[in-house]
């Protein structure tokens, strides 16, 4: 991997993790509320996939803070959204689970498990029709792979050869339910086999994720139809702030944390590019500063005005068109 990209990814992972810890902290203080789904442990996947899929459209789930940031949305706009402020990327109306920014082609933050997949497929249809030359990445968890929306999407994308990159973040759990208890096997890519080529990748390894997603992106851009990438990963925290996560044993967590994606990336940078401790300290500081700025920005930002409640139920221009 190019040094520039490796550095960028490392920075974003550091930023992402610190961002999540900051979010957690401010959830405890009550400044953030609702369901907060932290992405800690999954940074390699979230960051590297977004950097590899650097053009095209992206549809994600509710566990998307880091993806949004890696996509280029400013951390302060994300943090402000978590704080419910006007300056938030969704004006404080969406919250943690609903980060949207069409200027970054990020239609993230769907909180209906699997619900964004048909949307991603439809968007890919639009891209194919306009011969855009790029496609759509749909990111979803292992929990989404048992729902009707997922299968309909595989089938349609395949039947019509649409440029969709299905990226499954398999962290083995949907809240407290282990995937193998509700599906016949662990590897969800098997479900896609009748429809499209599949790839498996170690989701704790940013370099591997970057390469796999880049390759998959090339594939869909060439017009071959959809492709499926499954990345195995691990969330360190509970499902959301309201989940203690007791269904996973300490041993299991230990094994999983031993593969820490940030440590791994550090190692890579050390081995391939001889980066030194000072560099990592620097990056850490820079990332922390960005997070601190984001938090401060969020805290200082104004609450929405009361009138905001009624804004954007319908779009203004509509009435113009009609009358």
């Amino acid at each position: 991997m190019e040094k520039r990209i490796a550095e960028e990814i490392y920075y974003l992972m550091e930023l992402g993790r610190r961002f999540e810890y900051a979010a957690k902290e401010h959830y405890m203080t009550g400044e953030i509320s609702g369901f907060l789904h932290l992405d800690i442990g999954q940074e390699a996947l979230s960051v590297a996939a977004m950097r590899a899929f650097d053009h095209g459209d992206v549809f994600t789930t509710y566990r998307e803070h880091i993806m949004a940031i890696a996509r280029g949305i400013e951390p302060k706009a994300v943090m402000a959204e978590l704080f419910g402020k006007t300056t938030g990327v969704s004006g404080g109306k969406g919250g943690s689970m609903h980060l949207f920014d069409p200027t970054h082609f990020f239609y993230g933050g769907d909180a209906i498990v699997g619900g964004h997949l048909p949307n991603a497929v439809g968007c890919a249809y639009a891209r194919k029709l306009e011969k855009a030359g790029h496609g759509v990445m749909a990111v979803f968890g292992d929990g989404a792979t048992n729902g009707g929306a997922f299968f309909e999407s595989l089938n349609i994308a395949s039947a019509w050869k649409l440029p969709v990159l299905f990226l499954c973040e398999n962290n083995r759990y949907a809240i407290g339910t282990e995937i193998t208890r509700v599906a016949p096997f662990l590897e969800q890519a098997k479900k896609a086999e009748p429809y499209m080529p599949t790839m498996e990748v170690d989701g704790m390894d940013a370099v591997a994720v970057y390469e796999a997603v880049s390759e998959a992106r090339d594939y869909i851009e060439k017009g071959h139809g959809p492709i499926f990438v499954e990345a195995f990963t691990c969330r360190y925290e509970g499902h959301s702030m309201s989940d203690a996560g007791t269904y996973r044993s300490p041993q299991e967590m230990q094994i999983c944390k031993a593969k820490d994606p940030i440590e791994r990336m550090k190692k890579y940078l050390k081995e391939y590019y001889n980066m030194e401790d000072a560099y990592f300290d620097e990056v850490g500081k820079k990332a922390q500063a960005a997070v601190d700025t984001a938090v401060e920005f969020a805290a200082q930002s104004p609450e929405p005005e009361a009138a905001a409640l009624f804004e954007h139920v319908f779009c203004k221009e509509c009435s113009d068109v009609v009358s």
Binding site: D57, F100, Y107, G115, C123, E152
Partner: protein, 325 residues
């Protein structure tokens, strides 16, 4: 022009001028649509824009949402209202909310069309009406076309708008004849006064408007009164101004709808009148609706389950007599 031809023409004209407009649904392409609404369009615009989908209603609407995000202006057809239940997640959790949740950043210029209602002995899984459910969804515009002219103009406007519109048709109206005044656009958010009158306001929509109009001569004769008949057209938002003016004039309100009585759409209209126009009402309002039963197959039972012109006339006359008319 037939109702279905008016719909076809509205779509055709939009497709002709804007290549972003696409239609999708089961058999909408080569087959021309189960009720022939999209007949001939595939020949003009090709299969890439007249998209035959698999039987996957969740995806039909969900794909339309994604197409709209991607810059197209999709018109999704669901073959029959009952199947739209499979797409409620996409209609409600997605189409109706994304604009708001994104603080206006995402726009969904899309239309979902379906026919509903009792046709002839299609039984419980093919005969229902869902305006009562879908008009309770903020962020979704709901229009119901009882009339050929409205069908043309409103569908066209729905396609031009940047908000999601649910466009409701009725299985028995597709072959209805009527004039279309192409040059006089109308405001689809407005109710239509089908017939002016001074003693009684009858509010209805979709196919029941015709049944009401069939019943009106009997009602007027038997009660010696004149009825004002209002076709709501826009079920959400509701044109309260037109309702208010009429009710204030007549002092009496009857709502006629085909969906089930309990929780039916008309409850909202009567409740509006009771809340906002109570002192203008000279008598208790009346709701005529379908019975609270799944729609049976047998023809007499089926007809017994919904309002018919005869029943509408009889019930209103009876009510009128005991309510000072």
């Amino acid at each position: 022009m037939l109702y279905r031809e008016a719909l076809n023409r509205a779509i055709d004209e939009c497709m002709a001028v804007d290549e972003k407009v696409v239609i999708l649904g089961e058999d909408v392409g080569r087959y021309g649509g189960s009720y022939r609404v999209s007949e001939g369009l595939v020949a003009k615009y090709g299969e890439a824009r007249c998209i035959d989908t698999p039987i996957a209603e969740l995806s039909i609407v969900g794909n339309a949402v994604g197409m709209a995000i991607g810059g197209l202006r999709p018109i999704a057809e669901i073959m029959t209202a009952n199947f739209s239940l499979l797409a409620f997640d996409q209609i409600i959790n997605h189409a109706s909310k994304l604009h708001y949740m994104s603080n206006g950043k995402i726009r969904l210029p899309m239309v979902v069309r379906f026919p509903q209602g009792v046709s002839k002995q299609l039984a419980a899984q093919h005969s229902e009406s869902y305006e009562q459910m879908l008009s309770a969804v903020p962020g979704l515009i709901v229009w119901a076309a009882s009339d050929v002219n409205y069908a043309y103009h409103a569908l066209k406007q729905a396609i031009l708008m940047d908000d999601p519109v649910l466009f409701i048709e009725h299985e028995l109206l597709y072959n209805k004849k009527g004039e279309v005044d192409v040059d006089t656009p109308l405001d689809p958010f407005k109710a239509r006064i089908v017939k002016e009158g001074k003693d009684l306001t009858i509010v209805s929509y979709l196919k029941m408007v015709d049944d009401v109009m069939t019943a009106v001569p009997t009602i007027e004769k038997e009660l010696g009164i004149s009825c004002e008949v209002i076709d709501l057209q826009s079920l959400n938002p509701i044109d309260h101004a037109t309702l208010e003016a009429s009710i204030k004039k007549t002092g009496r309100l009857v709502v006629v709808e085909e969906d089930h009585y309990t929780g039916g759409y008309g409850a909202q209209i009567v409740s509006f009148a009771a809340e906002k126009l109570f002192y203008a009402l000279d008598a208790a309002p009346l709701r005529l609706a379908g019975e609270d039963v799944p729609i049976p197959y047998n023809r007499s039972l089926e007809l017994a389950s919904i309002p018919t012109p005869e029943k509408i006339a009889a019930r209103i006359v009876e009510w009128g007599k005991s309510n000072g008319l």
